[in-house]
């Protein structure tokens, strides 16, 4: 029988990254993700990896940029304000086509905000965040078990397509404790091939440069277009989502992470009260599961987006559906969680046709 271990979300993410082959971590303390660098500080040396508590989040992403250039599996983590600091570095990683793994345990913002769980960094994660045209592969866990198992996929995608990858969690998932079962075999880093772009001890081979610029006229466009080909492949092959009770649903909740957990409770409450509600949970936030949403919209006329923010993913839902169905929003900004009751009330008013659509013309 597979072993299940009660684990804290942040520690599950760290251990999951190590089992996925991570051998370098740089990070800086910031609540609510401190357990990640703390865990890495003693666990990484155990597997022959290197840990650095960097002087800041900016320095950490640049350490990761350096480590990634050698072809090693590496990671940095932070929470909202610290992720903001990393944006330039992430843009460099994307521009140099380096695979890196990022962990963002979101807290309330903007600014110093608070230290409670929130979902206010969706745009930052999926819309680049950093400057220039690039994409980040983003997965959103809904609990500790997914925190433990998503790093495996993230590293796989990062290296296959040479793109930064991210687990986007929130402070609640980071701090909670749940049973964890690792479903992927541990990666044997000694068997990982050294990428043909990696810099290192060259033993006489032709020199390599890791960089993100090309000043020659027209050449940056070529670089970007090459990248876009890989992004298109990711959109074809790597979309993930979860569906609950969609077959007869009149209202479909679209939610990720902790908001999705609450939405499960809201869905059950609604079903008890006779409303036919289902849940569509995007797991990859980029690539966003737009094709599946469009398919669902052929039958479902009402989508309720539930977010612990002012509403960021709701725009992706709107863009995907492009007017095919009604889109409503239950938003809870400023960190803190909505209750199942509150979400149910919104669904009730949708079913009674009393609710206002998101961004309805005034």
């Amino acid at each position: 029988m597979a072993e299940k271990k009660l684990t804290k979300g942040n520690e599950a993410l760290a251990e999951g990254a190590i089992r996925a082959g991570c051998r370098f971590f740089a990070g800086y303390p910031i609540t609510p993700q401190n357990e990640i660098p703390e865990y890495m500080s003693w666990r990484l040396p155990q597997v022959g990896g290197a840990f650095v508590q960097s002087e800041s989040e900016v320095s950490a992403i640049n350490m990761v940029y350096g480590a990634a250039a050698t072809g090693v599996r590496c990671m940095t983590s932070s929470s909202s304000p610290g992720m903001s600091l990393k944006q330039e570095g992430i843009s460099y990683c994307a521009g140099a086509d380096l695979p890196v793994f990022l962990g963002n345990v979101m807290r309330g913002g903007p600014g110093l905000g608070n230290i409670a769980g929130a979902q206010g960094d969706y745009w930052q994660a999926t819309r680049g965040g950093g400057h220039g045209d690039y994409r980040t592969f983003v997965m959103a866990p809904n609990g500790v078990n997914e925190m433990a198992n998503f790093p495996h996929k993230c590293f796989e995608v990062a290296f296959k397509y040479r793109i930064p990858s991210m687990v986007l969690a929130d402070g609640i998932i980071g701090q909670m404790m749940e049973p964890v079962e690792f479903t992927n075999p541990e990666v044997d880093v000694t068997k990982l091939p050294v990428p043909d772009w990696a810099i290192g001890i060259n033993n006489g081979r032709a020199k390599r440069i890791v960089k993100s610029y090309d000043l020659r006229d027209g050449f940056l466009e070529i670089m970007v277009n090459e990248r876009v080909k890989r992004y298109n492949m990711i959109e074809q092959n790597e979309v993930q989502y979860e569906e609950k009770m969609l077959e007869d649903a009149d209202i479909v909740i679209v939610a990720y992470g902790t908001a999705a957990r609450i939405s499960v409770a809201a869905m059950k409450l609604a079903r008890e009260k006779g409303l036919k509600v289902g849940l569509f949970r995007p797991i990859t936030l980029w690539p966003f599961p737009k094709a599946r949403l469009v398919e669902l919209s052929k039958r479902v006329k009402n989508f309720l987006v539930v977010e612990m923010s002012l509403g960021q993913m709701v725009e992706d839902v709107q863009l995907s559906l492009n007017g095919r169905s009604n889109v409503y929003l239950h938003a809870k900004p400023g960190a803190g969680v909505m209750t199942a009751d509150e979400v149910y009330k919104t669904m009730e008013s949708i079913s009674k046709k009393g609710a206002k659509e998101y961004a309805a013309a005034k």
Binding site: Y28, P29, I30, T31, N34, S41, W42, Q53, E55, S56
Partner: protein
């Protein structure tokens, strides 16, 4: 019977969130007493850090700004350059000043910004739960060096007063501590000089204050005062107290 001590105007008379035995409370009071004695409260602006003292923005009874981790000296620069008549102080911990804020403090000293910096050095990260600081001692345990800091892993603790004193723009740098009553009084005198320098239009002045963190040093909760031993026996040999730069004294030679 006469009451011998009065609470300073420049500090709100409210309970603070600081742990029992934490040095922040002592230094807050000293800064407030100095502000009162110099009569500058109505033109003083303080910059609060990220760290345990983030809430100093609530406690000091003057205009306050709270900004990103480590950027206090930059914020102070923005304020002082636009309102030269204000007395601007940046209050920072060892993570804020010596880790993420290293560039900002060095350049404020280089430019000899006419600001007063109060630097609380307790060799650990308090607010985030006890991680290693740039000033954590070799062998000292923290949550990101559970077996004790080693040179190989993290290098040596940084001596900010010594380093900043090599900068020509630094006018006054002194290191003091608050682990005993006589040292508390010396700290007050240093803080007073650092603020007086700004009143007199002299340049960048900083006081580094060795302080207690009973919670994250693992001091027994039944007697947080035990933490003063670590300041005296652990920290002071590595961070000697004293005046590291005094442009006034140099002029008088």
């Amino acid at each position: 019977m006469q009451l011998l001590n009065k609470k300073p105007e420049a500090l709100l008379d409210v309970p603070t969130h600081y742990c029992p035995g934490c040095g922040h409370g002592i230094v807050h009071r000293l800064v407030a007493e100095v502000i009162d004695e110099l009569g500058i409260r109505n033109r003083t602006i303080g910059v609060a850090p990220v760290g345990c003292a983030v809430f100093s923005d609530t406690y000091f009874n003057c205009d306050m700004i709270q900004g990103p981790h480590g950027r206090g000296p930059a914020e102070a620069t923005g304020i002082k350059r636009t309102i030269p008549g204000a007395i601007v102080f940046s209050y920072q911990g060892d993570g804020d000043l010596a880790s993420i804020g290293m560039a900002e403090i060095v350049h404020a000293a280089i430019r000899s910004e006419h600001i007063t910096v109060i630097f609380i050095n307790n060799a650990i990260y308090g607010m985030t739960g006890g991680q290693m600081a740039p000033t954590t001692l070799i062998g000292q345990k923290a949550t990101t060096c559970v077996d004790g800091r080693t040179v190989a892993q993290a290098g040596y603790p940084i001596k900010m007063s010594e380093m900043l004193s090599t900068i020509d723009g630094a006018v006054y740098i002194e290191r003091t501590s608050v682990h005993s009553a006589p040292n508390v009084m010396k700290t007050k005198a240093a803080i007073k000089k650092a603020f007086q320098n700004q009143v007199d239009g002299k340049g960048f002045s900083l006081v580094e204050i060795l302080s207690m963190c009973p919670t994250n040093w693992g001091t027994k909760a039944s007697n947080p005062a035990e933490a003063t031993k670590f300041v005296a026996e652990g920290m002071m040999p590595v961070f000697p107290l004293g005046v590291y730069k005094d442009a006034d004294a140099a002029d008088k030679k």
